[in-house]
Structures are given as structure tokens and as C-alpha cells.
């Protein structure tokens, strides 16, 4: 198989696509948003709970989409647990840098598995859909964001 494809469809990504973590509806959410990619029909609905001290205490998602967008949403729910809102924004920035071919020094943990997306410009939006949705939920609760409104 082609090296770029091996980089893209890493086992961690495939595994999260098959068994997404934190999939479902979060009962006591106080932030939520929907993300939509009209180019491929991917939809993500994200619900989270942010505590008074700005710590994200729980994140869950529902939706359908390609392996990259589902795995990205699944890993997002894992990695955000216990992070502050500020840390979440900064992670998104670093993650975006990684996807667009500007790897940062900052430790991205499991998110590093998405480095291969860089070789597939058309797929960057798949990897960032959940993150745009998160940002929308944090900034402006309960809205619908689209990948086609000039984010990328």
C-alpha cells in the first residue's frame, strides 16, 4: 500500500472509527453545537459540560461521517477531558498547524496520528470538523457551523 495512505489511515484512526469513544448524548451538558460539512454530508453534534472554573468535565458526540472525521471527534472527546477552555483553543490551533504541514513543538499526544492528513488537503476539513464544532459550542452556544463558511 502507498505510504501516504498508511500514514493517513493509521491503526489508531481506524480503531477510533470502528469504536468511537464517548459516543452518545451527554445528559448534563451546558454547551453544544452542530458541525456540518456540506461537501460530503458529514454531521457532528457535540455536547459538553464546562465547570465554573472553565474546566471541561465531559464531552460526548453523535454524528456520521468519514473515518477521519469520526476518529477526530472521538479523539477530541478523549483529549479534552479535564482541559480548560483556554487549553482547548490552544490545542485546536496546534492541531490545525499539524494538519496544514506546520508541526509545532507542543505535545499533541494522540492527535499526532493525524499528521498524515497533511498530504491530503481535501481531507483537512474532515479532521477539523469536530474542532470547529467545539469552538462554536464554547464561543456561541447551540449554533450550527459549516466547514464552508470560510474557516479553512
Amino acid at each position: 500500500m502507498n505510504d501516504d495512505l498508511i500514514e493517513l489511515y493509521q491503526e489508531v484512526i481506524m480503531e477510533h472509527n470502528r469504536h468511537p469513544r464517548n459516543y452518545g448524548v451527554l445528559a448534563d451538558a451546558n454547551r453544544e453545537a452542530s458541525g456540518f460539512n456540506p461537501l460530503c454530508g458529514d454531521k457532528i453534534h457535540l455536547k459538553l459540560h464546562v465547570a465554573a472554573d472553565n474546566t471541561i468535565t465531559a464531552v460526548m458526540f453523535e454524528g456520521n461521517g468519514c473515518a477521519i472525521s469520526i476518529a477526530s471527534a472521538s479523539l477530541l472527546t478523549e483529549i479534552l477531558h479535564g482541559k480548560t477552555v483556554t487549553e482547548a483553543y490552544s490545542l485546536f490551533e496546534q492541531f490545525h498547524e499539524l494538519l496544514t504541514g506546520h508541526p509545532t513543538e507542543a505535545p499533541l499526544g494522540k492527535l499526532a496520528v493525524f499528521a498524515g492528513v497533511n498530504a491530503f488537503p481535501a481531507r483537512v476539513k474532515c479532521a477539523t470538523l469536530a474542532w470547529h464544532t467545539l469552538k462554536a459550542a464554547l464561543l456561541n452556544n447551540n449554533v450550527i457551523v459549516s466547514t464552508e463558511t470560510g474557516h479553512e
Binding site: L8, Y9, C40, G41, D42, N64, G65, C66, F120
Partner: protein, 409 residues
Amino acid sequence: MKTFTEDDIVRIRGEFPILSTQSKGHPLVYLDNANTSQKPQCVINALKDYYERYNANIYRGLYELSELATAAYEEARHRAAQFLNAKEDCEIIFVKGTTEAINLIAQSYARPLLKPGDEVLITALEHHSNIVPWQIVCQQTGATLRVAPINLQGEVIQDAYEKCLSEKTKIVAMGHISNALGTINPIAAMITKAHAVGAVTVIDGAQAAPHTALDVQALNCDFYAFSSHKIYGPTGLGVLYGKKALLDAMPPYQGGGEMIKSVTFEKTIYQDLPLKFEAGTQHIEGAIGLKVALDYVTQIGFEAIHQHEHELLVYATQLAHEHKLRIIGEAKEKASILSFTLDNIHAHDVGTILNHYGVAVRAGHHCAMPVMEFFQVPATLRASFAFYNTKAEIDILFNALSKVREIFK
């Protein structure tokens, strides 16, 4: 020539320079023809020739170059009229593409006509460009947009279509062939039924023109539109056919240069057909290229084209069954379009992997979201075949699909 021999295919493929290129280190397998077609050398040469020998604006120059360009542009109009079997050349309006043609009809024909209570009827198979312009004009006029439903094979249910027709129906707009599924609509019969209630018919022929011989007089449609780039011609150009009496009565779509007889600040007198609808400098080289493309396909012959493309469709459909793909759209009458899904793997993942084997297909909703919703899929893969495709290329597609399954096992 009724069917292609092996030699014919080799020769035809040789006439399309892009077909001998590589993609991602593999020979290009281009199966996205419903999206846009590749261009034969003769079309590429025609564009080059225009710019090298007689580039000038049309109608306006009193010099040889402009005369040459004007003659070539009008010859293209004549060729398009011939291709559609229009009665007169002035029934052919050059536009940007099928989308602009439909918008022109919606704004110049429908908007002055429609009133609250009137209905525009489309089908559930339509491309967004044959939905949205009608939604816009219905919002502007208070008319109602109705949709004739389809069955699980992806065919318009004819009884239901008839039931949608009434004296309220002013316009029936439908695709000749569905871009998402390949369904060939029985438009001749559907046009007759529409006329029986007094409706005017608008046919989106974007997918039909590359595959079928057309005769607008036999069809008796009121408007017919197709795009150059899908029939081996340049992008940015389309053809709108309209019956002369209808076009004559319509106000201009856009104002500007070349569509006027005289202008004062008080009053403008418009040009006669077809120039009334061609404001501004036109896509001259596009029309010239389209003329050559129409000559080219006509010379190959639609009988042979249909025969070959149908063989490819049958072959691919059989392999799709063997590979247990879910085929979306199984109309009895189908053009060479195979829309499908692979297990539960998202179309974009499949498309990305196919691309890495040099295979170009469309993955997405094909600008037909309501069709996707009807079949409850977010997106499909679509392989669409042209007369230059081969069974060997379809084998490459299916081998690559097997690789997708290995990766997603």
C-alpha cells in the same frame, strides 16, 4: 461505425492527450465524466488556433480578424442548432452553462409569468441547479414548487407525475438524465403530458447531450439546455435552446453591450434574437471549441457511443453485484453512470484511496442532496463512463475497491 473495435478504442484514446498521463504514479483511470469530460486534441487545437490566428472581439471590428471570429462564432451557433435539430439558429443562446440557462428561463420567462397559486413542477431526481432557480422564482412570485416523486429504483413514478399536473402547472422542469443515478427519464411522454395541461417544458440536458442524439423538434420541448464541458468541449459555455416565439416574448436576462440596437438615457431598444440574451463579450473560443467537439462526437456517432457505454455500464454493474456493492439507482433505462456505496465505508474515504491508485471518481452528494436523502445515504461514489473508457479501466476500479476493503477490514 456501429460498434468500436479494439483498434477504434486505441485510436480514440490516443486523441485525448490526458488519457495517457499518470496520476499518483499509476495510469490515469478517469471515471468522472458526468462531472466533466476530457478534451480531444482537435478541441484543444481549435482554442489554440483561435488565439494564434484570429483572436478578436465579435460583431464589432471592421477588420479581417473580427470578421473571422464572428463567422466562427456564428458557425458554432449554427452547429449547435443542427446538433439539437432546432428550427432556426436564432433559437440557440450561448450562456455560461446549463445552470445559467435554467436561471435565465426562471428569471426571464417564469418570473414575469408566475402568480400566486401557479405551480412549477420538478422531479425528485433534479440536480440543485434545476431546483434552486425555481425556488428563487417561486419566492419572488408566490408560486408553489411541486416535486414529482421517485420509486426505489430511482425512476419518476409516472402516475404520480400525472397527478401533479393540473391547469395550475405553468412550468415543468426536469432532467433528461439524472446526474446522480443515471436514470433516463421518458421525457418525450412527460413533455406531451405537461403540454396537455398547458405547461411549458424546460429540459436540463447536461447529462444527456454527451450520450444521446437529440431532436428538440421531435421532443417538442419548449426549452432545452446543455453544457459544453460535459460533451468534450471547453468549460464556461452552455447552450440554451428555446422556441423562437417564447424567446421573442421574453425580456432580456442581463443588460449590457451587444444586446442593444440603440441606447439613450431615456430608452433602450434591444437586439433581436439571439443577441438580446448575449450581453457583453461572449465566450468566443468556447463556442469555437464546442463546435469542434460536436463535430467530433457526431463523427464518432451516437449509435456506437451508446453501444460502447452501455457495455461498460453492464460490465460494471455485474462486477458491482459480484463485489456486493450497494447500487444506488437501478432504473430500467440508465445512462453509463454507476452510483454506489461500499459497506459502511464513507464515500470520501473510498474516493481518497481510489485516487491513490490513479482512479478518479466522484464522491459526494453530486449536487443532488434530496436524492441522497431519499436513499438515506450521506453520499455515494459515482463512476461515470465515457466512450473512451474501457473494461480494463473498470477492472482497475474494482481492484482498487478491494484495496479499500483491505484497509477498512
